[in-house]
Structure formats: structure tokens, C-alpha cells
Point group: C2
Chain length 359, copies 2
Amino acid sequence: MMNNTMRRASIPVFFLFLLACSSLPTKSFRPFQPLPPQPPIPADNPQTADKVRLGKQLFFDPRLAADGVTTCNSCHNLALGGDNDQAVSTGAGGGVGRRNPPTLWNVAFNTIYSWDGRATSLEALLAEHLLDPTAMGMPSEHSVTQRLTGIPGYRQQFAAVFSDTDAGVSYADITRALSAFLRTLVTVNSPFDRYLAGDKDAVTEQVLDGFNEYIEVGCASCHFWVNFAGPVPGLAFQMGEGFYELFPNHPGSEYEKRYALAEDIGRYQVTGIETDKRMWRVSTLRNIAVTAPYFHNGSVNSLEEAVRIMASVQLKVQLTERQVADMVTFLNSLTGEFPPIELPVLPATAGKTALQPEL
Amino acid sequence: MMNNTMRRASIPVFFLFLLACSSLPTKSFRPFQPLPPQPPIPADNPQTADKVRLGKQLFFDPRLAADGVTTCNSCHNLALGGDNDQAVSTGAGGGVGRRNPPTLWNVAFNTIYSWDGRATSLEALLAEHLLDPTAMGMPSEHSVTQRLTGIPGYRQQFAAVFSDTDAGVSYADITRALSAFLRTLVTVNSPFDRYLAGDKDAVTEQVLDGFNEYIEVGCASCHFWVNFAGPVPGLAFQMGEGFYELFPNHPGSEYEKRYALAEDIGRYQVTGIETDKRMWRVSTLRNIAVTAPYFHNGSVNSLEEAVRIMASVQLKVQLTERQVADMVTFLNSLTGEFPPIELPVLPATAGKTALQPEL
């Protein structure tokens, strides 16, 4: 147990450590900040209320999936922390993915997308996701645009929002509308955010103990900044294209075997670069307490165990059960406020289904 | 084309016909009425705001399904007319059903539930649905109650709403909460309801032409009363336990072969009674224009074709294309107002999934 002065002191200590590691301009940089209510918005896809409304419809629309049942919300369930409780995704074509669907809350504060960082924009990842057999499973871009073009309410909205012609909805614009909706998914005001904003009563002593242990053990070397997932271009300095960590950093452990942590070798499969073997995007810790199971393969069911594993395989630290409990209490304080979402009324196809003629 | 006097006159003519057929007390009976804002509520499951709120959570909760992804809303999508565009249901265990998921909007105005009327209460049907491999697919009642008991937010709510003990959530109470939510799903104020309420400008001339043809051809013999699906106990006289029609009434048609209409022999499979062969619950026509595809097997994709088929195989009437267009226009006027639904925030299991230990 440390006193409050020591607790607060540990942030600057970590800050100096970070400075030494990064050698980057840091004039106004604070490694932990309350989550801003708005994520960075790309210049080529500005937010508008109509675009967001359209994107929300698409997000909840099963007609965007090969099976006519799956929606984006099936795996990334906004009622359930932004993911679901499954270990790995089940796609609309019955395809079973290898990786755990991450939460979409606060996703727009990421710099790179998907576990292996293979997309540098939400739009790019969505363009892939709609056709991925382990996600929406549509057979082709044309099949997607054809379906939506067959729904008069979508034709009209795409024409109004993007000036798409009445003859057809553009595939790129579908990804733009969906991305615009995802950029509204922000959970501000977690207890720890309120603490960072100056409300010293927003968290318990145990949260602060856990936070200090989190820093001292070294977790914060990767999990810092607004999304507890590294730097965010446009909001802070940039580290190349994205921010990755080697996982497991110390290979060959019992944990690695038990949970098959090294079977999937991560980013190497995207780049073919030797040093990208076992490299993974640093994941957000926001809402981590409500987004079990854990890790890229969803193999670990409990946050306690996930904390033990990370300390061990990344930092070669064997945590005491007291430290684990403190850190989990801290991580619980990162659960934000989930703003209410009204289910959209989806545009109908009067007197017929949108799924036929069959693809 | 008929004039307005004849149009209005045709309702009493049909009413007299109905009187002759039924020989039931009909003092205050009008065969068509605006949809009431509240359906009948059973005495043993009174509505309360907390119960409805709990039921809504369950409706949208994938942890109530074997696969952890499917929800009630997957097949009965409230954003999409209360069903989905699939011909038949796909269950949480990958089981494919034989029948088309009906809309749940206004379901509480029905007298019997499921296509073959095998349940006489929503509660009874839900008790079955949760375990049906082509629906939620849970392996046993115990597996359902165990899952929900493992979620603290549910334990607390069931204790508050039903006085369930902290040790466990009762299976019957799960069906009660879900049913209470379903009884809030009412779409009032369709154009035709506004017409019935006295607003003569609420519908076009073609709607009234279609309505008169609908009565004259004989559709209204079954599809009458508040839900266009026959009598509702508690709101009007009762016809035995439920209200069924023989379908196809005139067997052996080309339509029957093309759409496999007689392969599934309906209620007989529930009762084993010879005269129940090809007997089916009379379905609501409310929101019919936004709930394609049609019939118990979902084999017919267009409302025009469904109207042609019904006139032919039920009433041996070959409709003109003009009659079909008029009737479809009338049926379109039965699409009500879908009240906004806020997606619930589901109770979390902090730091773990609710799906483990595995069933």
C-alpha cells in the first residue's frame, strides 16, 4: 500500500520512462487522460447526422449478411459491452473465425484495426468484413450493393447523403456510413475518467493501488493514452503506422501452452516480415471488465487470469493474488457509460423480401 | 368500382354472414375495429414496468441461446417488421426450422400461438421456444436458469420482480417476463385504423376498393376483428380454443405443387386428430406488407402472389390483376406505427463470460 503522494508521483515517473523510450515531442503529452467525447474524424468522411442515422440502420440490418440473420451487432453486440461472450466469431456463412470479436465501443480511438492491424481505417476494415465468411459473408461487393439498391429507403438515403445515383448504392459509401456510426460509439465518464478529470472521490483506494501496480509492473508501457491502447494519430504523437506488441513476449510458458497463445502468429500473416511474427495490435482496456473472454483467441474466460498471464508472458512478473485483485479493481474502473441506442426502424421492401432473387 | 355507400354497406352484409355462421352473442361486435393500444393481459401475469424492462433485456440477450449469439430478435427482428426476410428460421444450434417466423408485433392479440396453435399462451410457447433447436436451442430448463442465475443483474431483477430467490431464477418467470415485453409490442394508427376511427381521408379510393373486394371475395371470413386474424378472447366472443382454417382449402392446385403448400400438414401433428390435417392458425394481416416471405413455409416471396394463391386455394376465386393490385393496396394500409425501442444495456458478468462453465 502506498500513500496518495506516491500514487500520484508514479505517473510522472512512468512519463519520464516513456520519454526515454520514445524520444518523441511530448510538450503537452499526458499519458492518461479522460476519454474525449469525440474521436478523430477523417477528413474524407465527415460526420453528418443523416450519415450516422444511415450507418446505424446498416449496423442493425440482417439483409447486409449472407444468411439474412446475422448483423454487425451479432458479434459486436452494443447491448453487451460491444462484443459477445463467444470465444471466436461465427460468421453469416457458418464460418467460424479464429479470433475474438473486439468491442466496438471507442473503436474510433484506435489507430489500426483488427487484431493484426491489417486495416488503417474503419472504412477499409468494413470493406473486408462485409465479404469475410467469418463475418457478414456476402459473396461479392456487387451482391452487397445489389441488395441495398433493391431497398427503396436505402436508395433514397444514399442519394441524399452521398449523391449516389438512384441506379445504385456505392460499396465505398456503405463502408463510410457504417464507419460514421461507429465513430459515435464512445463511452465517457468511467470512474477512472472522472478521477483523471479531477474527482478524487470517483474511485476507491484499491483502484489507485491497482493503477500504481499497473504502472510499476509495466502494463502502461503499451496500454496508455486515451484508449489505454497506445498513441492516437491526430490526438497525440504517432508511432509509425500503428502500435503493436510482441505477444507472448517471453515465449514457451505454461500459460502459452494451456491457452494456445502462440498458435496464431499474428501480424506476420499480413506482412510476411519475420519481425512481425507474434506481433499484435495493442488492445484497448476500456470496458475490459465487460468484454470477456480475453486475448486474440478468446481462450481466457476470466479477467483475473488474463492479468496474471499478461504480467507473466509479457513482463516476466509473477503477481501476488493481492496485486491481481487490485489491478482487476482498477480495470473495472475503466467501464464507461453506455449511451442509450434506439433500435432503428429499417427501410422495408413492401410486399417482398430483399433476399430474393437469390444471390 | 363501387361507390362509397356500397363500400360501407358491405361491412354489415359480411356481419350478417358472420352472425349466421357463428350463432354467438354479438351485441356489440363490429368485425373491424382500430387496434386497441393494449392487448388482453392474463390475470396470472400482470404487466409492470420493471417486468417489461426485464423481459426486453431477455429478448435482446444472446446469452439466452445455446450459441451465445442468437437472440429472440434474430428471427423476430423488431427493426424489420418483427420478423426477418428468411423463409424459415435458423436456430441457435444450427437447426433449420420448417416454418416462417411470424411477426411479434401485435402477437398478444392472438388467441393461440405458433402456426399450428400448439400453445394457448405466450408463456407456454416461450417455454418451448427456449429449448427448441430451431429457436434458442438451450439443452434444458436447468441450463437456462443456470445461465441467468450466473448473471448478478438478472438475479437481482428476478428477485425484485418475481420474488425469485437469490439462489436461482425460475424458468416460468423467464417466460413471464418475456411475455410481458411481447405484450407491449403494438403498432397502432395504421392508415386503415385511422380510417376505421373516422378519418375518411386516411386511405385512398384504391384502399377502399381493395377492402370491399377483400370482403366480397371472402377473405374476411377468417381475417377479421382487431388483428385481422379472428376472434380474441377477452375482447370478443370466442370460437373454441382457437381459430383455424383449412389450408389449402381446395387441394391439388398448381399453386399447391409449386410452393409445396400441403407438405407440412399443420395442426394434425400436434393433435393426431384426422380433421386437423392441414389446419392452421389464422394469421394476422397487420403489417403483412413488411413481413415477407409468406405462408407457413415462407415459400412465397411476393404479397401479390400470396393474395392470388389465397383467393385460389381457399376460395376458388381467380382474381384479376386489378383486384390483386387493389387488395395489396388495402393490405399495405394495415402497416401500423412502429414505436421506438431503446436497445437495453444488458447486465454484465464482470471479468468473465456467462457462457462458461460450458453447458
